[in-house]
């Protein structure tokens, strides 16, 4: 019957897992760790910004080694054209070719009266209001101010290039926009001999369609470009390049770590077990535990992050405990049947498993789906492990894994009093551990950075950094994102933020594409302001003459000014953005968003990251968003609260099951081990994050098992069961292997669990030395 249940459940689980589409249901994107309904608005923004737009951008740089100072413009144009033809690319712009940018520039210039004039008039009017002069003076004041600005502008280097446009735009609407938005211009600042091509792929860079087919399209375009320009070299980067490399490296890392982990467990087994091959009976228990966890998790959750499985792999370390405990338990008397043995072991097994499950189940109440998934995965895995261990060993005649003799030997020989020196050494160790725990825990430093979840790819990141620099992205800049419920509100918030920057940032120069658009208030007031400037043409002619200009040269401007006064632009404020959206393409189109539930504008400030923008400006630093540190700190605190509540429940249930003294011992061993390890981290200056906390929770659960399984032996004054030593050393070695991982969080988890397990084993082994006489002596 048990066999049928076991085989039936295993078959169902395997059948379920076989039909899953793993590429769709398992995510490797760290941003998928953020819940879609996250209440922090910036989290939703960064999801939209990073998952929909920026991650699809690809950067290309072409260089001709034969002429290193001259960008190979023709080759870049050809390459961009080939990319545009590929269906894998939604956009491809040759930034040096100028055709697209010229068209964009021309369109903005032609719409300057609609887009730029309202802001200019609004700013000047506010300035004029500050002078306290009567409203009737506005026109001559404005004319004098505009003529003086024009005269000053002619002394600037860019005036030469703008010269032909000035008779059309003497109010300097376009030069002013260029000056204020210079940081966001899609230029190759200091590109030297590189010709730059900007691309945006159609598919997600984290999915298969955004990787292989895109790389093939790039290869085809490069081949065609090289056929025409054989000497030209191409460099490129994109999130898909890093994502593809990361996936390969993660797969390789998991293979290597699993192999090393198995080797470590095998090595420990060889030390402790007489017939190592018998350890193979533990394999089905672990596999069935993982099968149960995978099946249950994929049944409950539509999409899981790969880190859940990576952390879930640590479940092996816990799952094997039940197998060891049942399998290594000798018969109490000759001929004792399995059922009788199991009945005897049921209390510690259930106490250990159910209390741990209670603890992990509390993670189901976390805000972070990832934590909920881990809690569910581990809980399901533990229940599966216990069930599988109990059912599996029922299939074997006389299941008993015999350990070598030294494995049973107590450090403190039974029935003898502890030597005074040994007791002193144990007491000293306890004092040192307590001191480390107290002093180190006070020095703990926490820092959460979502980027630590990623596997570093230094070469690709260096290449990406070099290319981003060519495209004008320098570390001395800070990028802010200002948002609002509507585009009008977002533009108003941007105005507030720019005013705040102007007042507080000193020499820093904020640049935003939002400057291209007026605020709704300026837009609405423009017709009235134009009407009030009836004498401006005459005033401005006179002012220009006074400043050494020939007013007749500006006839085109005066004609269009009068036409504008007669027919001021009207219509819907949102139409400004719709019209401009048809013109703005390429990198500029990624600097603002008017669709979706939130509208936003990006602002670049030429200073390294400073303090965050004050609350009320609806502005967050994109660097802050990229680390998501505030968000993850909140999640960490949430996980910590839940962990502490979980541990309290675990401890409370232990006191319900066991007498007070034994309950106290069972509670102190895991808690003490955890604090000592955190103390060590504090003293060595290790910075901790959410994943150290999760590792500690897992480690405490393991230590809790050892404390429960050694409770009877401690009470009776015998050596701890060999299963605990074997289990703890297996867990310490396999988790220790994970500490070698290059993924920072896996390293953190492995190290934390391994150290807690070692500390708990040491506590179990040394605890008898602290007792003067045995309770039964």
């Amino acid at each position: 019957m048990a066999r049928c249940v076991l085989l039936g459940l295993a078959a169902l689980g395997i059948a379920w897992l076989a039909r899953l589409d793993y590429a769709r249901e398992i995510s490797t994107n760290v941003l998928d760790l953020i819940p879609p309904g996250e209440q922090a608005p910036e989290a939703g923004l960064v999801r939209g910004l990073a998952t929909d737009l920026q991650v699809r951008v690809m950067l290309f740089a072409l260089r001709d080694p034969q002429a290193p100072a001259v960008p190979p413009a023709a080759a870049a144009a050809l390459f961009a054209g080939e990319l545009r033809r590929a269906p894998e690319f939604a956009e491809a712009l040759d930034l040096g070719g100028g055709a697209d940018q010229t068209a964009m520039g021309r369109a903005i210039f032609e719409q300057r009266a609609t887009l730029l004039l309202p802001s200019w008039l609004g700013e000047r009017h506010r300035e004029f209001t500050g002078t306290g002069r009567p409203e009737s003076d506005f026109s001559p004041w404005l004319a004098e101010r505009a003529a003086a600005d024009l005269e000053a502008f002619l002394g600037r280097p860019e005036a030469v290039a703008m010269g032909p446009l000035l008779p059309l735009d003497p109010l300097l609407l376009t030069p002013r926009l260029i000056e204020r938005a210079r940081l966001i211009a899609p230029s190759g600042a200091g590109t030297g001999g590189d010709a730059l091509v900007w691309g945006r792929i159609a598919g997600s860079p984290f999915a298969a369609e955004g990787q292989g087919p895109v790389f093939a399209a790039i290869n085809r375009a490069e081949a065609r470009m090289r056929a025409a320009y054989p000497g030209v070299e191409l460099r490129w980067t994109g999130v898909n390049q890093i994502a593809a490399a990361t996936r390969v490296r993660i797969e390789s890392e998991i293979r290597v770590l699993n192999a090393l982990s198995l080797l470590a467990v095998f090595g420990v087994g060889c030390l402790f077990v007489r017939r190592v091959w018998q350890m193979l009976h533990l394999l089905p228990v672990v596999l069935l535990s993982l099968l149960g966890a995978w099946t249950a998790s994929t049944l409950v959750f539509a999409r899981l992050h790969f880190l859940v499985f990576l952390i879930g792999a640590l479940l092996c370390g816990v799952a094997i405990d039940y197998g060891f405990y049942i399998y290594m338990q000798p018969a109490l008397r000759p001929g004792e049947g399995y059922e009788s043995k199991l009945r005897r072991l049921l209390k510690p097994l259930l106490a250990s498993c159910l209390t741990t499950v209670i603890g992990f189940s509390l993670l189901l109440f976390s805000d972070l789906p990832f934590i909920r998934e881990v809690g569910f995965f581990v809980s399901a895995g533990l229940l599966s492990a216990l069930g599988a261990a109990m059912l599996y060993f029922a299939q074997i005649d006389h299941p008993f894994l015999e350990a070598r003799r030294f494995g049973h030997r107590a450090l403190r020989p039974p029935g003898r009093s502890v030597a005074r020196s040994s007791r002193w050494v144990a007491a000293l160790l306890l004092v040192v551990a307590a001191a480390v725990a107290v002093s180190g825990t006070c020095r703990l430093r926490w820092r959460d950075d979502v980027r630590e979840l990623e596997l570093p790819t230094p070469e690709l990141e260096a290449n990406a950094g070099a290319l981003r620099t060519l495209f004008g992205d320098t570390p001395g800049r800070t990028v802010y994102l200002t948002y609002g419920a509507t585009v009008a509100e977002a533009r108003r918030h941007l105005e507030d933020f720019l005013n705040y920057e102007a007042a507080s940032a000193g020499q820093a120069h904020p640049a935003s594409l939002g400057l291209l658009f007026p605020t709704e208030a300026d837009w609405r007031q423009m017709p009235a302001r134009l009407r009030s400037l009836g004498g401006f043409s005459a005033d401005y002619r006179a002012a220009l003459d006074r400043h050494g200009f020939e007013p007749d040269s500006f006839a085109p401007f005066f004609n269009s000014w009068e036409a504008l006064r007669q027919h001021p632009p009207g219509g819907d404020y949102a139409s400004l953005y719709r019209d401009a959206g048809r013109v703005l393409t390429g990198p500029l189109a990624l600097l603002y968003n008017t669709r979706g539930p939130s509208a936003w504008f990006l602002t670049v400030v030429d200073r390294p990251a400073g303090p965050p923008a004050p609350a009320g400006l609806f502005t967050v630093g994109v660097n802050e968003l990229q680390t998501l540190d505030r968000l993850f700190t909140r999640y960490r605190w949430s996980a910590l609260r839940l962990s502490l509540v979980g541990l309290s429940l675990v401890i409370a249930s232990v006191f319900v099951i066991y007498p007070f003294r034994r309950g106290l011992r069972i509670a102190l061993i895991p808690a003490g081990s955890c604090f000592v390890v955190f103390g060590v981290f504090g003293l060595v200056g290790q910075t901790l994050n959410l994943f150290h906390l999760l590792g500690a929770f897992l480690g405490v659960c393991l230590a809790h098992n050892y404390a429960i399984f050694s409770s009877d032996s401690s009470h009776s004054g015998t050596a701890p069961p060999v299963s605990i030593r074997l289990s703890a050393l297996c867990a310490a070695s396999s988790f220790g292997v994970l500490a070698l991982s290059r993924i920072p969080v896996v390293h953190a988890l492995g190290l934390t669990v391994a150290l807690i397990v070692v500390a708990a084993l040491a506590a179990v082994e040394l605890e008898p030395f602290l007792r003067g006489r045995r309770p039964d002596a």
């Binding site: 960008p71 413009a73 280097p157 030469v160 001999g193 030429d606």
Partner: protein, 218 residues
Amino acid sequence: MRLPRAAALALLVLAAAAARAAPPLLSAATAIADPARDPAWSALFASLVPRENRESSFEERRYFPFRRQPVILTGKIRLAPGRGLSLDYLTPQPRVLIVDGQGLLMRDAIGREVSLPADARTQASIAALVDILRFDLAELQRNFALHGQRDAAGWTLAFVPRDPLLARSLAALIVRGTGDTVAEIELRATPRQHIDILVRATRRDAVFAPADWARYFR
């Protein structure tokens, strides 16, 4: 000694006649087909190749068709072979303009940098300027039609872009000087819009302090 009125008048007439006789600068008669082998010009071109750091004062006169008087800017010009050219504007607004192999860079009074866009026209202009600064004959012949004239005051060289894109913004670049010293550079867009840079007090073998290299070059 004062010249008799008749002699002065005769000199004026002679000068006017000489001026009428000289062909226009940008004509076939003044074309220099191969400056490296042309005995009239090869020595001058060789002497103009900068071999040492130079520092001069300059006055830049910007002529715009919509303004009665030129806008005047003054400052110092520094030339470092291998590093580029630096125009240190002192008036009316202090700022530094750097032209080198990496492109065109502007630094304002507080050292804030602005690079000009890497569009084809800007790149072509910069490449042209760099070629002229180096007096790299091979590159100059490839990118410009060369013209030259000599008179009693010295010599005049004109560089007419072959690239139509560049020619749209720069009709000709004219360099005037005496001996191996450049006295004036004119960037002519149209007859009514041009920039004349008058170079004065050139100091050869100028020594730039580390702070100068950092401020005026990159």
